[in-house]
Symmetry: C3
């Protein structure tokens, strides 16, 4: 197994450059990509301490990783995980929405759409090894994968309504790919966060792992079942099943972007974000 972020894939390394430049040191690059040359299983690790908040650069790193794997004939599967000991991803970075610059916030949302398209519609099989809390956008990333394995005593859910916001249609369809409509409606309207055990019971995750190493091992086991499946037949089967959600996004990126931009532009939303950030600062000052 070797790290291919720079060594093997110069085009990918170049694409990740802005991230690397910001990160200042090789250890703190935002997305780590390793490939097991023997099995063809890639591991994509989110690495934006402390909680993998999804800002533009982290999303760009994920997008380039997914697109790189899409072009990599050796890739037979991908595990998405986190370098944090307690958080998979805390969701969208609130700083991208607070007093946003028009160009950047547009690029931010468009990149999130593209990450979703690349991950939800990937050719290769995908597993989320959820080694920590996974609210909102973090939950969304895991729902794009085909299988979810989670460590004990964390929480997961699309809790947007609890934050006073509305999960976009594609967040909803991602959840409906995992749990029945009836459960999704209850979960989404109440913004419910599920414990690992509750998530297993309802089908929001598929397996529980004792720790991150166990989650990775179980992910590899899940992916190994596809070793004898023809990758093109598998890919077409997956894309046919996910067709209508993917097609909706492809046809409505502009509309969906405008809804988000207009939401973020509301004075009441900006005030609410300001309050939230002041609360965070006060906490940190203590």
């Amino acid at each position: 197994m070797m790290n291919i972020t720079r060594q093997l894939r110069p085009s990918l390394a170049k694409a990740l450059m802005p991230t690397a430049m910001r990160a200042m040191s090789a250890d703190s690059k935002l997305v780590e990509l390793t490939m097991n040359e023997k099995t063809g299983i890639a591991t994509v690790t989110m690495n934006r301490p402390p909680v993998n908040s999804l800002n533009l650069e982290l999303l760009q790193g994920l997008l380039k990783a997914f697109e790189g794997l899409e072009d990599d004939r050796k890739c037979r599967g991908m595990i998405l995980t986190s370098s944090s000991p307690t958080v998979f991803s805390a969701g969208l970075d609130i700083m991208e929405m607070y007093k946003p610059k028009p160009d950047r916030v547009k690029e931010f949302w468009t990149t999130l759409q593209d990450v979703w398209l690349a991950l939800y519609g990937s050719s290769f099989p995908t597993v989320a090894a959820i080694n920590g809390h996974s609210p909102a956008g973090g939950c969304l990333l895991s729902l794009c994968c085909e299988y979810r394995i989670m460590c004990p005593n964390y929480s997961i859910g699309l809790n947007e309504t609890k934050l006073g916001i509305v999960a976009p249609k594609w967040f909803m369809s991602s959840m409906l790919g995992a749990i029945p409509y009836r459960e999704a409606e209850l979960a989404l309207t109440s913004g419910r966060m599920f414990s690992t055990d509750e998530a297993l019971k309802i089908g929001l995750i598929d397996e529980v792992a004792s720790d991150k190493a166990d989650a990775i091992a179980k992910s590899e086991k899940f992916l190994s079942q596809f070793a004898k499946i023809h990758p093109i037949a598998r890919k077409l089967t997956k894309l046919n099943l996910r067709h209508s959600a993917l097609e909706w996004m492809q046809e409505n990126k502009e509309l969906d972007l405008n809804i988000f931009i207009s939401f973020v532009g509301q004075p009441i939303v900006q005030k609410s974000l300001e309050k939230y950030l002041e609360g965070l600062k006060a906490k940190q000052a203590k």
Copy 2:
């Protein structure tokens, strides 16, 4: 808590007037609406003895109650229940379909459509406290709510095929919001009525309550979880999820009405209703 049917909402009281005039006394008004001023939880009680058959006036009463709550900023949730000790609602009043006057039967069906639109698409969270049998149209009303709590040893279901009729598309989509397609197909084609325990097992209801008071208490507990959820985020989340069913109805009211009118107009249907009513009379005469 106070009764606001007349005192607080003159426009609502006026709308309910025809009902009240028919009902002759204040005690027998067809729909009772109370509001807990502290919690913002409204209770809508169907009160058309003996079995809450849904005739035009009862439907009009329900519609005005739902529309009134929609306009009421204080409303944070609604419980739908029945004043009968053994029946939630027996479903559509057969007298509305037997030898119907063209204008009235048209208004009857259109009002049923509007009740469905108002309840299935309400901004505020809704619970059915099902304190009695709930066949056909009674089951439909409960399925429009977001949560169902039922007292023991009653029955519930869309049993239209057992009556020789076909549940309209929106009855079906309401059921598909609660139970999986596979179960809904079996239930709908066989017109199956479920006992309280069977309904819980299949997901047609969410909780069992020991009696009406317990059902109301459990309903209030369910609704209380939304106290801290931003009502607009919640409303938009619900309406986005229910969008396609609501949109279908809005676009097909006329078509759906014509199907019903043409069904009721068939001589074979009228003969069958006549027979059914004669059977009822014979029973009552004994």
Copy 3:
């Protein structure tokens, strides 16, 4: 109970003629149709030894049987089963796809579409008594029925990806009528075959029977519940529920045919079929 294939329905017998001519003797006709005159329950038995591979003639036999029952006012239900002791149906006959003649392969696929339309959209209630293995096309036939009863220790599933091919959209929607999307995606992408017990647990079948006689008895019991249901109300309820899948097929037969023809015409597919058939021959030679 009597066999009506020839005696009662000359038009049906005529339609089955090519089959009968090939089959050489009455005992080996490809589809047996019996009718219980008392209950109105028909039994359609696939009888193409050794494994009921679905070739053009077997499909034509099934189509004529289903169409005949559709026209038969006495028919109140149908049981689909197999004369083989260990196989329900092995799925599509690979010989129809290997070096195919253009006219025949076109008729083959069109007939499969028509069989699906006739069975998935039948007026009468349908049960599959699955008395043996049921992969791919065999599983599809059972999924078209409204209820599935299976004998122990067999396997069932849409295992197309394991064969390097892609289950068409209507295979997928048939499976989605039985099990939740989440389970269907896992099953279809991995081409998973389920044991009888696993199939019961996941909902791919509804009941387990000890043997074929028990499967038939249980099928009759399932169908008997419809004796008191008005057949037209039942039929319309079923067709309304299955409307969108049926409509898709009616509108896309040509497109779906072209996809299949172009798939079969690929040199790589022909080579793969050749290899597979050589493997079979080698096995038989041992």
